[in-house]
Amino acid sequence: MSDFSLPTDPEERREKLGVLFTEAVPHNHALQLRLEAVGTTDATVVMPYADVLVGNPETGVVAGGAVTTLIDAASGTAVMAALNAFAAIVTLDLRIDYLRPARPGLPLTAQAECYKVTRMVAFVRALVHQGDPATPVASSQGTFMRVES
C-alpha cells in the first residue's frame, strides 16, 4: 500500500482522516474517539466520558490506559498531518505525565503537535485537558516511525 496525500482544505482533511480514524481503527471506535480538527502538523481528538473507562470505581476517574489510547491516537494523527499523507506509521515510544486527576463525567481532549519529522522518525508532543488547555490533565512526548507496508 502506498501513501495517499491528504486534502488541503482543513474541513475535508478532518472528514477524510476522521473516517479512516474510526472505521479502520476498531479500538478508537470502541472508545468513541472523535477527530475534532486536523491542521498541517497537529490533531485534536475528543474522548467522551463513559462508564467503561472508569479505572477507580470509588472516584469515577478514567483509567490511565484509556488516556494512553487517546494520546496515541491523537499523536499518530498529528504525524499523518505533518507527513500530509495517509501514511503507515507505528508508535516507537510514548511517555505520559499525569499532571492532575481527570474530573469524572467530562470528556477528555487531546491536542497533539508533530513538531519534527525526519526521514524515518516523527516527534510528537501532546496535552490532554477537559475544556481549559491552561490546566492540562496530562502531557506526553512520543516518537513514531514510518513503515513500508
Binding site: M1, A24, V25, P26, H27, N28, H29, A30, D51, V52, L53, V54, G55, N56, P57, E58, G60, V62, A63, G64, G65, A66, T68, T69, L70, I71, D72, A73, V90, T91, L92, D93, L94, R95, I96, D97, Y98, P101, S149
Partner: protein, 150 residues
C-alpha cells in the same frame, strides 16, 4: 456504573487472601471492558488481556491498538501494587514510559510487573508484555505511582 458491594480496600484485602482475582478485575469497569484479568500461573502472578476484535488498532495487519498495550502494562503494574504490597488504595499513576517493541497480534497478551523500588509514597514499577514467546516482548514500560497522599 455498578458500585462494588464492598469498599475497594476491603475487596483488595479479601482477594489478597482468597486469590479470587476476578472479583477485583470485575469491580473495575475499565479492566472488565478491556478483558484484562489476573492469573496465577505456576506460582507467578500475571495479567492476561483476552483478545477481542474491539482491541484492534490496525485492521489491515491486523494489530492491537498501541493504547491497549499501554493499558495492559499499566493495569499489570497497578494489580501488582494492590495485590503484592499492603497499599490500601488504588495507586495513582504519576508518569509512564512505554516502548513498543513489536506489533501485537490478534491474540491474548500477557504481562508481568516487577516492583523496582517501593518507597513510602512512590513506587517504581517495570512491566513487560508478550504473546507467544516471553523472550520476545512486544511492549515494555516503566512507571511511577503515588501510593498515598499526606
Amino acid at each position: 456504573m455498578s458500585t462494588p458491594s464492598l469498599p475497594l480496600a476491603d475487596l483488595v484485602r479479601q482477594v489478597r487472601q482468597s486469590r479470587e482475582y476476578h472479583r477485583l478485575t470485575d469491580a473495575i469497569p475499565y479492566t472488565r471492558f478491556m478483558g484484562i484479568g489476573v492469573e496465577n500461573l505456576a506460582g507467578e502472578m500475571l495479567c492476561r488481556m483476552r483478545y477481542a476484535p474491539h482491541l484492534i488498532g490496525n485492521s489491515i495487519l491486523p494489530a492491537l491498538h498501541g493504547g491497549t498495550l499501554g493499558a495492559l502494562l499499566e493495569s499489570s503494574a497497578i494489580f501488582e501494587l494492590l495485590l503484592q504490597t499492603d497499599t490500601e488504595r488504588v495507586p495513582k499513576v504519576i508518569s509512564t514510559t512505554v516502548d513498543f517493541l513489536r506489533s501485537g497480534k490478534a491474540q491474548d497478551t500477557f504481562a508481568r510487573a516487577f516492583i523496582t523500588r517501593q518507597g513510602r509514597r512512590v513506587a517504581n514499577v517495570r512491566v513487560e508484555a508478550w504473546q507467544d514467546d516471553r523472550t520476545r516482548p512486544i511492549a515494555s514500560s516503566h512507571a511511577l505511582f503515588l501510593l498515598s497522599e499526606p
